[in-house]
Structures are given as structure tokens and as C-alpha cells.
């Protein structure tokens, strides 16, 4: 029955026992972009019992250079990524139970999904969702693996509730104007390097080889030949609101979420970040212009034209997305550009 996993079983730290454990585990993958594609494919090929994958976008041509589950047909059919991913993953391994969810991974959705999950793999493109994953992980005691990449740079860290520091210990608050793949570009090897670090940790967690978990925060720049491994024992913050003694899980509450509203009578969605921000408009404008977007601006706002939409971004982080009434789609466009 395990013929297809024979080479993985020959690897001593996994073995027959590990393979049996893998086949009984349920992995939740948030995001089905570059990281999500590769994370999901590796998990499904390695024979985990069940994979649930959540994504809010559809497949576009600019995805094909690195998002390994998708084809030109998926783009032409404008398939939601979760749906296209599910089809491809089923074709790869019919033994794995696969559930695809087309939608925004809000804290409410994550709470509903958390009940029977053994591991969460981060494959999102924004810190708001990551902070929500982090709070869910602490609340339901589910390990999760942070992974991110932009340009040729990437990073990963494994978070085990009760053992390691959590993402909120490290960042304290959501970084603003983080580099995203839509502003800084991305090359496929950076994705693969982040994935290698995420999936190996996933395998260790799923076969319950806890002593082998990497306890350092890894970051690398493949183009500039840099690799760093940061020890994290001092990072745990006893006062952390996500994992400390008096925890409140702040990122599960409404006031810490991005607000979206359709503007009455207009084909426009307004996006409001949870906290007032100061966006350096000319810097963002230059980045976007370098990428070929049509950008106009003044000291108060930036007007950015993409293929299908026009965005107006204000200095406090508020934005208007013209050309859509779809709240989830508008939020996705916003977070792709602003992180």
C-alpha cells in the first residue's frame, strides 16, 4: 500500500511509522499562490491524509512563472486558484483527501477550520492573515510554519505553541508597506528555497520528530549569496498578547481587521487598514512605476492603474479600488500592492 512512498520510507527519520503518521494527519494550507502551490504539491505527494487549501484569487498569466500547479488553461478559464489546485492535486495523488475553499481566510473562517487540523502552513501574501493564523495557532495549540519571499529573498520560522516564540513576539505589530511580489518582483528559486524550509519542518511536525524541529529564524538572499540563521530563544515575550500569560488574541478581533465597503452607486470598493498608517507615497509610486504601472500622484494621494482597475491610495493607508464591487477581490488587490 505504501509502494509509492517507498523512497520516503527508506529515509530513516520517517520510516514506516512516520509514513503511517503522515497518512493520518490533516494539513491546512492558507493561500494557493506560489508558496501554496508548492507546499500543497509536496504535502500531497508525500502522502498526508488530508489537505485543506484556501485561496481568494483566480489564476492569472503573471502567476505561471512560479505557481507550479497552474496551466494556461486555468488562466483562460479564470479558474479560482483553490479549484485549479484541487484538480491538479487530485490528479497527482488520489489517495489524499483534498478540500478546496474559495474565499478569504478571515479569523472566523480560520476558527471554523481549526477543529481537526494538525498543522497550518502559511502561504499567504500579507501579514494581517499571518497574524490571524498566529492567534488561531496559539488558541487551538496548532503548530504553524511561516514562510515568505520577495525578489530573491525569503525567510521561514516554525512556531510551536508552548515552545517557541510566536510571530507577534517577533514583530509586535503588523509591518507597514512590506515588500510584496507585486512591488518587489519574485523569482521561482526564492519560492523553492522558502518551500524547502517550510515543507521539511512540516514533515518533522507530522511524523512528530519534535527534537529535529529547527528553532532558528532562517532568511536568505539567493541572488546575493546570503544565508542567516538567527537564534530565537530570547525572542519569547512573556507579555505577548498572542502567546503570553494574559493573552487576548488581538488579531481575531474585528478592530484589527482591514475594513472593506462597496461605495454606494459606484463600481468602487473602499479599503481601510485597521490602524492609521503613514505610507511614503513617492517611494511606493516609484516602485510601482518601475514595474510598469501607470502612476500619478500628489503629496496626498497616489493614483495607480493596473490592467483592470484603478486604485487611489491615500497617505493614511486608505484606498479606493475602482472597477470592482467584489470586496474580497478588492482586498486582494490592495494587499498585493501594500503587503
Amino acid at each position: 500500500m505504501f509502494e509509492r512512498y517507498s523512497r520516503q520510507i527508506l529515509f530513516t527519520p520517517i520510516g514506516q511509522t512516520g509514513q503511517e503518521k503522515l497518512s493520518s494527519k490533516h494539513v491546512l494550507i492558507i493561500g494557493a499562490g506560489a508558496l501554496g502551490s508548492s507546499n500543497a504539491e509536496t504535502m500531497v505527494r508525500s502522502g498526508v491524509g488530508k489537505v485543506t487549501i484556501v485561496d481568494r484569487d483566480y489564476v492569472e498569466f503573471s502567476n505561471l512563472q512560479r505557481q507550479q500547479l497552474y496551466t494556461e488553461d486555468d488562466v483562460r478559464e479564470k479558474l479560482p486558484k483553490a479549484v485549479a489546485a484541487e484538480q491538479r492535486l487530485r490528479a497527482i495523488n488520489s489517495e489524499v483527501e483534498i478540500r478546496a475553499i474559495v474565499g478569504d481566510a478571515t479569523p472566523d473562517m480560520l476558527e471554523d477550520l481549526a477543529k481537526d487540523i494538525d498543522l497550518i502552513m502559511d502561504s499567504t501574501d500579507n501579514f494581517e492573515t499571518r497574524m490571524a493564523i498566529n492567534d488561531i495557532s496559539q488558541k487551538f495549540k496548532i503548530p504553524w510554519v511561516y514562510g515568505a519571499c520577495v525578489g530573491s529573498y525569503g525567510m521561514s520560522f516554525t512556531i510551536i505553541p508552548g515552545k517557541t516564540p510566536c510571530l507577534n513576539c517577533l514583530l509586535k505589530r503588523i509591518p507597514i508597506q512590506g515588500m510584496t511580489c507585486d512591488t518587489g518582483g519574485i523569482i521561482a528559486p526564492a519560492v523553492q528555497m522558502a518551500i524547502a524550509h517550510q515543507t521539511v519542518e512540516a514533515l518533522k511536525i507530522l511524523v512528530e520528530d519534535w527534537d529535529s524541529i529547527r528553532d532558528t529564524f532562517v532568511s536568505f538572499d539567493l541572488w546575493r549569496n546570503q544565508y542567516t540563521s538567527m537564534k530565537m530563544s530570547k525572542a519569547k515575550d512573556e507579555g505577548c498578547l498572542s502567546c503570553g500569560k494574559e493573552r487576548t488574541y488581538p488579531y481575531l478581533s474585528k478592530e484589527n481587521m482591514t475594513k472593506t465597503t462597496v461605495l454606494c452607486g459606484r463600481d468602487t470598493v473602499q479599503i481601510r487598514p485597521p490602524h492609521k498608517q503613514v505610507i511614503v507615497l513617492n517611494e511606493l509610486g516609484n516602485q510601482l512605476m518601475a514595474l510598469g504601472y501607470k502612476v500619478k500622484g500628489n503629496p496626498y494621494l497616489l493614483s495607480v492603474e493596473t490592467e483592470e482597475h484603478r486604485l487611489v491610495i491615500f497617505q493614511d493607508g486608505r484606498a479606493l479600488i475602482h472597477g470592482t464591487k467584489d470586496l474580497t477581490h478588492a482586498k486582494s488587490i490592495y494587499q498585493r500592492l501594500l503587503g
Binding site: G36, A148, V150, Y153, M155, I176, M179, T180
Partner: protein, 77 residues
């Protein structure tokens, strides 16, 4: 002397992979402020800091010879 290393977009903003300056006795927060002013960097408050490859808080005091790395978290995926 201290070696200060920059990663990702910070490296591009500073224009060098690393610089050498003497900041012994100063806190990480003070060093961030110094660099923010010198290189017009505006996103240092959420950048992670490693001193000798170990995570450091903003309050940590830098010692003679310490190697400091600034690692900006990124959100792409």
C-alpha cells in the same frame, strides 16, 4: 567597531551589504534611529535585529565587536 549588515530592500536603500561603525554602548533602538536619519530609512521599527546571530530586542545594548544584522520581514508568497 561594529559590523552592521543589511538584507533585502535595506541593502538596496543603504547601497552596501554592510558598514562598519562604532556603536558600542548604544541600544538597538538608538542604532535604528541613527541609521534611519543617515540613510533616510523609514521602516526600521518593524525590522528584526540579530546581534551575533541571535534575536535582539530594541532595548538590547550593543557591545564592542558585536555584529548586527537587520532582517526585514517580507509578506510575499
Amino acid at each position: 567597531m561594529n559590523k552592521i549588515m543589511f538584507f533585502a530592500h535595506l541593502r538596496e536603500a543603504v547601497g552596501e551589504e554592510s558598514i562598519s561603525i562604532d556603536v558600542a554602548g548604544r541600544s538597538v533602538a538608538e542604532l535604528k534611529e541613527l541609521l534611519a536619519n543617515q540613510y533616510q530609512l523609514n521602516q526600521l521599527d518593524t525590522v528584526m535585529t540579530a546581534i551575533n546571530e541571535e534575536f535582539a530586542t530594541n532595548e538590547e545594548i550593543i557591545q564592542q565587536g558585536d555584529i548586527i544584522a537587520f532582517i526585514p520581514p517580507v509578506s510575499g508568497g
